[in-house]
Symmetry: C2
Subunit: 299 residues, 2 copies
């Protein structure tokens, strides 16, 4: 199974029953535009947490009809985050959507021991990229959450991404544990981690998937480069998941494919009870829409 | 001074007197095509080291007229590398061009204590990218040589790139010390290195240039992203040099801009007595040409 781009993802997901999305700090035009579009497309039913008056006024401007029971008034960022997380915790929503508040504030409420919704051992970020020069969606992880992952944390990051792809319908997602080279070198510890993940993948530790590594980006995404270099792997030129060796590398990779390669990006945090959309402050309504869309596949 | 792309670089450099280029393992069609094109354009005069018979036959096929004194017969890869480096060491060439041999073999001869041509303390790699979605050339360093640079090595890597840009005619190249974030964090030691490099740049340690850091890729290359996030710096959206925090990050960045962002790439190793072109085995004649071209600026 291959998903070529976001519109094709939409075709796959649009006939699922709508999921309830809890929106934290919903008083933002791009966020509400994305939410209302997703409602219209039958993907979600929203609960909007935030400044009630602002939400109603933006909704009116956007021509959306809101049931007042769908709006939960909240004050500052921390209050928006806490109320939204509490709604998820009480079973009222299947995804958490980040609105006009810092990612850190939202995640602080998510991971809070007594009131949060953390599920797995490691929460990780996946940037989903629809890049014109690649034949299918790319899942880049982790350029946004786990700062300096050790091998054990990389296992969780990879597992989160594989599970996510399996929810989306991938039979055997192909993961590349990226490094600068294809050989294990003691000077580059990430190469040993990559080889370990490959071995663990082969014995089935991550479920149905194919893990390759250490492997450089050109071999993972460019079949012709792999051919020229005589590199053979089912992942060569055909990776779905790109596992970065560090947050710095993952962040660079996502941002280069987004900005300079002209890609469209969705962003999701995995490892909580529900998927969490996280878009940067500058994200367009369209990007927020794709993030919501991709979360509807889970649970 | 701004160089928008490789063709514009050519316009700037084509009236310099031709430099002598020593080509190691020249028995390769793409390499010779690039060399002959550079000769025709008056950029270089070559000395071709390698399998003489093969070189002459490829030259004939390409319709090039070769003076036999320009060909130095050599046998295996190590012999090609040693003889080419010896020519540079004896003052016969102003640049070393990698032909059909592994980069490692060539550089081994370069760094040899008693017979090599190593000059500075740190040799580093710069990938020069001509990316359609960016308004000028990007200089990415180091995704190919220095594996896990500490702050002192980063200083040399940055200095090598700044000096290179100054040779090319940049008055005050703008360098971004890339990280995943814009703030110093003890969890990400590369952010402290980036802040140190910025401070050192401000007091003039690297000569005329502007160093910014820590800074994420989107802010360094996308003016609109910087505006939305309220980030102000002369480097915002206008970086020339992208200093990567690790070889893995630099390698990913170069390869993503090359493959997935549709860029053209030249590659140079700095820190030896002369610049050294290094292109991957799959590089086209055109890419090898750009690498040779850019080296003609130095001496």
């Amino acid at each position: 199974m291959v998903i070529a781009n976001f519109p094709q993802l939409k075709l796959r997901l649009q006939n699922l029953p709508p999921k309830t999305a809890v929106v934290a700090a919903a008083h933002d035009e791009h966020t509400l535009q994305a939410v209302f579009n997703a409602c219209q497309d039958g993907l979600i039913q929203p609960i909007l947490v935030g400044h009630r008056a602002q939400i109603l006024s933006i909704a009116q401007r956007l021509g959306a009809v809101l049931d007042p029971t769908q709006v939960v008034d909240a004050q500052d960022d921390a209050d928006c985050a806490a109320k939204a997380v509490a709604l998820i915790r009480s079973g009222r929503g299947a995804m958490l959507v980040k609105g006009m508040l810092p990612t850190g504030t939202l995640l602080k409420a998510v991971v809070k021991k007594e009131s949060g919704i953390r599920a797995g051992e490691v929460m990780s970020h996946v940037a989903i990229l629809d890049v014109p020069n690649y034949h299918k969606l790319l899942y880049i992880t982790d350029g946004g959450m786990v700062v300096a992952p050790d091998l054990e944390q990389k296992r969780h990051i990879l597992q989160n991404a594989v599970d996510f792809c399996r929810f989306l319908g991938y039979d055997r997602p192909k993961a590349a544990a990226l490094c600068a080279v294809e050989t294990v070198s003691s000077a580059m510890p990430e190469t040993a981690d990559a080889a370990a993940l490959k071995a663990e993948g082969e014995r089935g530790d991550f479920g149905p998937c194919i893990v390759e590594g250490p492997i450089a980006l050109d071999l993972a995404t460019d079949r012709e480069a792999a051919r020229v270099k005589g590199y053979h792997s089912p992942v060569a030129g055909d990776a779905d998941i790109l596992l970065a060796p560090s947050i710095a590398a993952g962040n660079l990779l996502g941002k280069s494919l987004y900005g300079l390669a002209g890609g469209k990006m969705a962003g999701v945090v995995l490892g909580a009870d529900v998927p969490i959309t996280v878009n940067s402050r500058g994200a367009t309504a369209e990007e927020k829409y794709w993030s919501i869309l991709i979360c509807t596949a889970m649970n």
